[in-house]
């Protein structure tokens, strides 16, 4: 009557199809939802599947996507950053102001803006960790402060609420190669931000799944006391996450600035929730500890395709938000269904 430990195949486990095991990832639902939306707009509109059309929605998705991936990492780590949207404005405005008004070298300006962004991110992390206040509320305060400063300082220094004459700054075209250029591919006009997006998603996935810091991100988001007890450097992990998000804000700020060659004081306000939506649609839990970078990228793709698809479909634009809401609900429902079917938990 002794127990047969490890006696070959375990009779207590149903056999799972190998494919099923493969698809048991958090992002599988988002992938199916993205495919569904892609098919829908491909069939129902003409311009969606043309090379020009594809590059439009890819570009739209890429800007949301870069931030969404960073925000997803942060959310997996159990925190929010509501100042992420305003940060894209802040960094753009800094570069704009110091180059057009004070004639600073554009490369220096870039570094300066990055430094400011990273310090703000570090500041967020510091306040959150030292006070124990929820990051939702701390970064909301940061958001308000950034929003106010963006407006008031820009106005104070430039006399108006937008940066003018950015295109005439010397060195602008050099920098544009990295942030605002595009190259032809298969008939499409691919913006450089799409490359950034894909590269960052790949990097984030690698970090999350195959490195120690990635392991720690899941841990601090899942159970912070337990993580601390087994020796995870909680403070450093969260500091890194907030700074990553701020850094992504800088990147998107630059991509926007060098694309439209102007930036306004209100840039980025209200965008922070779109990033969170993308991350959640991509399978991140709001409570932390679960999610994926690829999922967030897919969430951004869904959002970008929907946003531009609605324009291609030429629906009455007053309904825009209603369509967006419906699509969002559909996407998360498909996501849920697929994940239930394939046995992914949470």
């Amino acid at each position: 009557m002794t127990v047969a430990v490890g006696a070959g195949i375990d009779e207590r486990k149903k056999r799972a199809h190998p494919l099923l095991t493969l698809v048991r990832r958090p992002e599988i639902g988002a992938l199916v939802a993205a495919l569904a939306i892609f098919l829908f707009f491909s069939v129902s509109t003409q311009a969606f599947l043309t090379p020009a059309g594809i590059s439009t929605w890819l570009y739209s998705a890429s800007l949301f996507g870069i931030m969404a991936v960073a925000v997803a990492l942060l959310m997996i780590g159990g925190e929010f950053d509501l100042s992420a949207g305003a940060m894209t404005g802040t960094t753009g405005l800094i570069v704009g102001v110091v180059t057009t008004q004070w004639g600073l070298n554009i490369w220096l300006a870039l570094v300066l803006a990055l430094a400011v962004a990273l310090s703000i991110g570090a500041g967020n992390a510091w306040v959150v960790m030292k006070t124990g206040l929820p990051s939702f509320i701390v970064t909301l305060a940061t958001f308000f402060i950034l929003q106010g400063c963006n407006l008031a300082l820009t106005k104070l220094i430039t006399g108006s609420v937008a940066i003018q004459g950015m295109g005439a700054v010397s060195g602008f075209d050099q920098v544009k190669v990295f942030f605002g250029s595009s190259f032809p591919l298969l008939g499409m006009d691919v913006k450089i931000s799409i490359v950034w997006w894909i590269a960052l998603t790949a990097l984030a996935t690698w970090v999350l799944l195959r490195t120690r810091p990635g392991n720690w991100i899941f841990a601090v988001g899942g159970q912070v006391t337990s993580s601390r007890q087994v020796g995870v450097p909680v403070f450093k992990v969260k500091l890194g996450l907030f700074m990553t998000t701020a850094g992504a804000g800088w990147l998107v700020g630059m991509l926007q600035l060098f694309d439209v060659s102007t930036v306004q004081a209100t840039t980025g306000v209200g965008q922070e929730f779109i990033y969170i939506i993308c991350a959640v649609v991509g399978g991140c839990l709001l409570t932390g500890g679960y999610g994926s970078a690829i999922g967030a990228a897919l969430g951004a793709l869904i959002y970008g395709m929907t946003l531009q698809g609605i324009v291609f479909a030429q629906w009455d634009n007053n309904w825009l938000k209603a369509f967006l809401g419906g699509m969002l609900l559909l996407a998360v429902l498909v996501n849920l269904l697929v994940r239930r079917q394939s046995g992914v938990r949470a």
Partner: protein, 274 residues
């Protein structure tokens, strides 16, 4: 420095007892307005098992949380390897080779079993930017270590939150034993375990002791404590009732001390059918 000379009431001559690895003198801890522990002194040396016994709420978990760096003591001193310490973070204790199993297990429910096993001490391979987790070896080690405890997991990739209570506890114990280099602290490690697994844990403790590790072991089961323990620290309502060597106490005395005397006999009668 010979800590034996400072200790207020040396129970054995300093020559016989090993040098303490961990030692506390008059430590206490207050949570807000709740005084959970006060004036407790004890020590554990290499190759020794210190059993901490006491009623519910006596302060046992609080005691070991101080030793493992989870909480800081509000009074008294803590000496680790002869040096006065005040752990700000469990990492500091871990780095000294002190590993713990907490009563609430300290696992991250949504993470796979193998990631939990190695959390904070991940195995990597490659170098520089290519340094990455050695997933295959970590999976194999996890499966093997759990197998040694008599736990045969179907799938070490399952989130640990879906394991049964005892399976989860086994993971936490296997981890502490695997990583505990000098001192292993166990808070009621056998509470949710089956008879066989509990036996395995006791034999682990004995083996760790024989390898020269210090072990701090909390349990409510005198039958678990007596066979492996060398010293017995009895706590009651946050204060120490004494620190006894095995030679000074019998299992019956100990059980009586833990339970509060004659009540047990009455109980045996009560359980009979009327």
């Amino acid at each position: 420095m010979t800590p034996g000379s400072i200790r207020p009431e040396p129970i054995l001559p300093a020559a016989i007892r090993p040098e303490p690895l961990l030692e506390v003198q008059g430590v206490g801890k207050t949570y807000g307005s709740v005084r959970a522990l006060a004036g407790v002194s004890a020590s554990v040396g290499a190759g020794e098992v210190l059993c901490v016994l006491g009623d519910n709420g006596a302060g046992k978990s609080t005691f070991i949380k101080i030793l493992s760096g989870t909480h800081q003591h509000s009074e008294g001193t803590l000496l680790a390897f002869g040096v006065e310490r005040r752990f700000a973070h469990p990492r500091e204790a871990l780095d000294l080779g002190i590993a713990a199993v907490y009563q609430d297990l300290a696992v991250v429910p949504l993470m796979p079993v193998w990631r939990n096993f190695f959390l904070g001490s991940e195995v990597t391979r490659g170098r520089g930017p290519l340094r990455r987790l050695d997933v295959a070896s970590m999976r194999a080690t996890t499966k093997h270590e759990l197998g040694r405890m008599g736990i045969d997991l179907r799938d070490v990739d399952r989130p640990i939150g879906t394991l049964s209570g005892g399976e989860r506890q086994s993971v936490a114990i296997a981890r502490a034993v695997y990583f505990g280099a000098k001192v292993v602290i166990l808070d009621e490690p056998t509470s949710a375990l089956g008879v066989k697994q509990a036996g395995v844990v006791l034999s682990y403790i004995a083996r760790a002791r024989d390898r020269g590790l210090g072990v701090v072991f909390i349990t409510h089961n005198p039958h678990h404590a007596y066979p492996v323990g060398d010293r017995f620290l009895l706590l009651q309502r946050g204060t120490s009732m004494g620190d006894f060597a095995k030679s000074e106490i019998t299992i019956e005395e100990m059980t009586a001390l833990m339970a509060g005397g004659a009540e047990l006999e009455a109980l045996a009668h009560e359980l009979e059918r009327p």
